[in-house]
Amino acid sequence: MVHLGQYFPGDSVIHRLDPRVKIVSTIVMSVLILWGEIPSLMLITLLILFAVGASGLPFRHLIISLRPVRFFLLIFLFLHLFFGEGVHIASVSWGPFSLTLEGLYRGLTVVWQFSLLIWGSSILTATTFPSGLVSGLEKLLRPLKKIGVPSHDLALMVSIALRFVPTFLEELERIKDAQKARCADFRSGGPVGRTRAAAGLLVPLVLSFVRRADDLIVAMEARGFRSGPRTNMNEMQMARADYAAITVMVLLTVFYILDSLTAFGWP
């Protein structure tokens, strides 16, 4: 089962890019996607297609990653189509709702922008190992340490949270099975009954995690942990590909600025 944000192991150029570069690029791209007009969007689309090709991800990944948000996309489209302002196309109308040309244009653009946002971030998570993401974030947040943001501890916290997600799910299944064995019913009983059954899972789950947290802290202390700076096995180092990626992002931004200055408009 493929899901949003899943990591795909690989050794491509995109995989090997410095996580910091990837994170910043994704942010820059996201901003440009939200602000950009058609020419910028087209350029970004090309860039994303190139990144998918270079990373060795199957192109199918683009469609799969949109699947969880398909209803949002449809709703966006629908809202813009029928509630946008502009010239109504009289032949396509139901009561007070009627299609407008501007609505069609805005709707499609919003769907396009939204898809690009999802693709951008899903390439980031698909090609970067979670711990790489975390340590990349930590390095990026490091300057904030001066104003008292404990970036080291934050990064460790996020990384431990990531590490325990699968354990959490396993535990949930175990508790569920234990309750099923004692005739708990999670499927029928209507919304109220099902909510009550789910609430019954919550207490043992939370208890088990408090206990785990306790054990984990002891284990971490035993391994010499104390809050504050630690050293990392994989120090990040920028390579040629990273500088290339940065250059591409700078060019993209320049293009966007020129585009909006000259108001090289679309229709």
């Binding site: 354990t167 054990d215 971490m220 202390e221 630690r230 096995m233």
Partner: protein, 279 residues
């Protein structure tokens, strides 16, 4: 040498002490086992060895450093590695190698040195091929090996293990046990708390605890052959030893000190051969 002098410890001020006047010494490079019924204080004692718990009275010294001195705590924790019972709650990293690098990272070692220590440690426990795997894809036994590697990467002089095989199936238990023996041969002192008597027949010394006290210490051959006494404590002896003791009780000519299967077999076979040649 790890040295405990008159340790007294309670979890709550008003409650009964969990450790009542414990003194012991653990020499470098030895294999020491601690056994005792549940609640006898063995885990609490173990947690004193690297200063996770501090005694209310008495003193614990690791190579002359007191666990009470906060200044030496980090060095003590580097020298005394701890492996816990539950494999799931001692792994911190999102991958195996990242977890092993946690300890050395805490020591503030340079990246290249950490990399080298991680590789060596994983190699030593036979987990190198899993270096990039996320921990939840490993079996309990493999997780325990990762935990041991995590301790090894800190280059400890002593490794204390709190029932490390309790969650494991027999074959995983054998593997972990073999790794422990190997580490012992490498010169690391092992302090092994366990309920599995078969694992400690080779120990240099066994401490038996009950009610917060060390009630007996000695060589395995002395301790593990006191079968009725062990049973009274709720511990049980190795089955092989129990068998030999029963045979001896039946009047057969047997030295009931053997703790291993091979040794017991040899004795029983020679006895059978002896009978056969008489007849």
């Amino acid at each position: 040498m790890i040295e405990a002098r008159g340790l007294i410890f309670k979890y709550e001020k008003s409650g009964d002490p969990v450790l009542k006047d414990i003194s012991l010494e653990i020499l470098e490079g030895t294999y020491v086992a601690i056994i005792g019924p549940n609640g006898c204080g063995k885990s609490s004692l173990l947690r004193h060895l690297d200063g996770l718990l501090l005694p209310d009275k008495g003193e614990l010294l690791v190579d002359g450093m007191r666990t009470r001195d906060t200044g030496s705590l980090r060095e003590i924790r580097r020298m005394v590695g701890m492996v816990f019972q539950n494999p799931d709650t001692q792994i911190v990293g999102t991958t195996v190698e990242e977890d092993v690098s946690f300890g050395p990272g805490n020591l503030g070692l340079p990246p290249l040195e950490i990399r080298e220590r991680v590789d060596t440690a994983l190699d030593l426990v036979g987990m190198k091929k899993y270096a990039k795997r996320p921990p939840h894809t490993l079996s309990s036994g493999e997780k325990q090996l990762v935990a041991i590697a995590g301790v090894l990467a800190m280059h400890p002089k002593y490794i204390a293990l709190d029932e490390p095989t309790a969650y494991l199936d027999p074959s995983a238990r054998m593997i972990v046990f073999r790794v422990l023996k190997k580490l012992h041969q490498e010169g690391i002192a092992i302090i092994h708390v366990t309920h599995h008597m078969e694992e400690i027949v080779d120990a240099d010394e066994i401490f038996v605890m009950n009610g917060g006290k060390i009630i007996q210490r000695g060589k395995p051959a002395e301790v593990l052959t006191r079968i009725a006494w062990l049973k009274e404590l709720g511990l049980g002896a190795p089955r092989v030893t129990e068998l030999l003791c029963r045979l001896k009780g039946m009047g057969l000519d047997i030295i009931a000190e053997s703790l291993t299967l091979d040794d017991a077999c040899a004795q029983i076979f020679s006895l059978i051969e002896g009978k056969a040649s008489e007849a």
